[in-house]
């Protein structure tokens, strides 16, 4: 089935170590058609559709040792264009930063069509107001006087090194932004990014000498709930957390809901994915964070965990998943779909693994099917509705 076929429920946009793939569902999400690769051999770090203009899809890319860039298409890859001005720091700036990778892409607020944000490595923030074709450094973040202190520096090779990720735009207020730094922590702006403050109270950072450090934490994935933006989840290097905003950032604190996970599984992982309509329902994919940090499925038994009560309890979901396997799921590689009413028992949940498989559930995680295998290492999986 073609991604533009109106009978399709939608398409998974898959970014991999070796290019871009589409995986298109039929109307009831039983049969899937693999398309691609596009840009074979290029690193596709994040591939995402613009919900305000569903024709547009952006790809954050790099290629071998070439500098980073960004591609966009308006016809599911029939034609592609490279960004006229890709994300980059200012030439001649004092810190002499050079962008190594475009790691994360987030469409802007509904009221700002054409606005996109990009997070990079080093931990820069970049902005576009023309649908991702021309980009500028976001000076409020990149030139913030605390940037050299808050940000990890120097970088290593993305995606294993330092990056800015998890750019969240409050659906109630385009000037309210959250970002995550690995490492660095969670940061918030209430003025469109002119100024920022930390948002890390009560998050553990076992690798820091100060147990009450204000920054330096390692969020892996931060999600502001779209239906209740006062609720935030994060999958951190040191556990799974939830924050319920009080209205006063100085007293807002994270609660380690990962403490409710089974102790033999732990609460380490990369992604946390939310039900778009139900602030209490979320999914994670734990990985082995013990010893030397294998970052594989704990015990070689892949499992998704779901909460339906905001993390007060977790349910192990393995029906259909392999009994033995050693993958993990990276922070951009778990998503839900919008093909059924959010909150429904038929909500689609999807995982792309480091071993190149795509696992699909059309019953909110109760059962899983492998809908693609033998792909390159998967970096991102995002849902796209037919244009």
């Amino acid at each position: 089935m073609n991604p533009n076929d109106p009978a399709s429920a939608g398409t998974l946009l898959i970014g991999t170590r070796k290019g871009v793939f589409w995986l298109t569902a039929d109307g009831d999400r039983r049969n899937w058609t693999l398309h691609g690769p596009h840009y074979l051999g290029h690193v596709a770090q994040h591939v995402i559709q613009d919900p305000r203009d569903r024709r547009r899809i952006l790809v954050g890319a790099r290629t071998g040792h070439l500098g980073p860039t960004l591609f966009h298409t308006d016809d599911f890859g029939e034609t592609w264009h490279e960004a006229s001005t890709p994300p980059a720091f200012h030439a001649g700036e004092e810190l002499e930063r050079s962008l190594d990778a475009v790691f994360w892409l987030t469409p802007g607020h509904e009221s700002q069509p054409g606005r996109w944000y990009a997070g990079g490595s080093p931990q820069g923030l970049f902005i576009s107001d023309d649908g991702g074709d021309t980009w500028s450094p976001h000076d409020g973040w990149n030139n913030h006087p605390m940037w050299p202190t808050w940000c990890e520096w120097p970088i290593a090779q993305t995606p294993d090194g330092s990056m800015l990720h998890s750019i969240n735009v409050d659906p109630r207020d385009p000037d309210h932004l959250l970002i995550g730094l690995s490492s660095g922590g969670v940061f918030e702006s209430n003025d469109g990014g002119k100024d920022w403050h930390t948002l890390n109270r009560d998050v553990e950072a076992v690798f820091l000498p100060d147990p009450d450090a204000d920054y330096g934490h390692d969020p892996h994935c931060v999600r502001m709930h779209p239906a209740d933006p006062d609720r935030i989840y994060q999958q951190n290097h040191c556990g799974i957390y939830r924050m319920d905003r009080t209205g006063d950032p100085s007293v807002d604190r994270w609660i380690r809901i990962g403490d409710n996970m089974p102790t033999d599984i732990g609460d380490i992982g990369f992604p946390v994915e939310l039900d778009p309509a139900d602030p209490d329902r979320a999914w994670v994919f734990p990985m082995d964070g013990t010893d030397v940090w294998p970052r594989t499925s704990p015990g070689g038994e892949p499992a998704v965990y779901r909460t339906v009560d905001g993390g007060e309890s977790w349910q192990r979901l393995t029906n259909g998943l392999p009994e033995r396997g050693w993958p993990t799921v990276l922070r951009q590689a778990m998503t839900t779909d919008g093909s059924v009413a959010a909150g429904s028992d038929n909500l689609g949940v999807y995982c792309g693994t480091t071993s190149g498989e795509v696992w699909a559930s059309t019953d909110a995680g109760d059962s899983w099917n492998c809908v693609a295998a033998h792909l390159p290492k998967i970096y991102s999986v995002e849902w796209a509705a037919p244009a």
Binding site: T63, G64, H65, L66, G67, T69, E82, S84, P86, A88, F89, H90, A91, G92, E93, E96, R97, S98, L99
Partner: protein, 90 residues
Amino acid sequence: MSGPTVPVRIPTPLRSYTGASQVEAMGSTVIEVLDDLDRQFPGLKFRLIDEQGRLRKHMRIFVNTDVAIGLDQGLGPADTVTLMQALSGG
């Protein structure tokens, strides 16, 4: 833009820009040739040179058979510029 027009050999990762393994560009220095290449093939230069004007890691530029001593190295009409990218990695 002034200076001689010189042949420039293009590595395979950059041929999506040029469509050819060898093109011509004008300039009296290496960086001027790269600027002319970017004018002809928009986007090519940034893949090779970062925003601070530094040659990216694992990239090399040769003038004839020798590594260019710098981006401001002068060029003459008999010179050939070769852009190279290491293919290390997996």
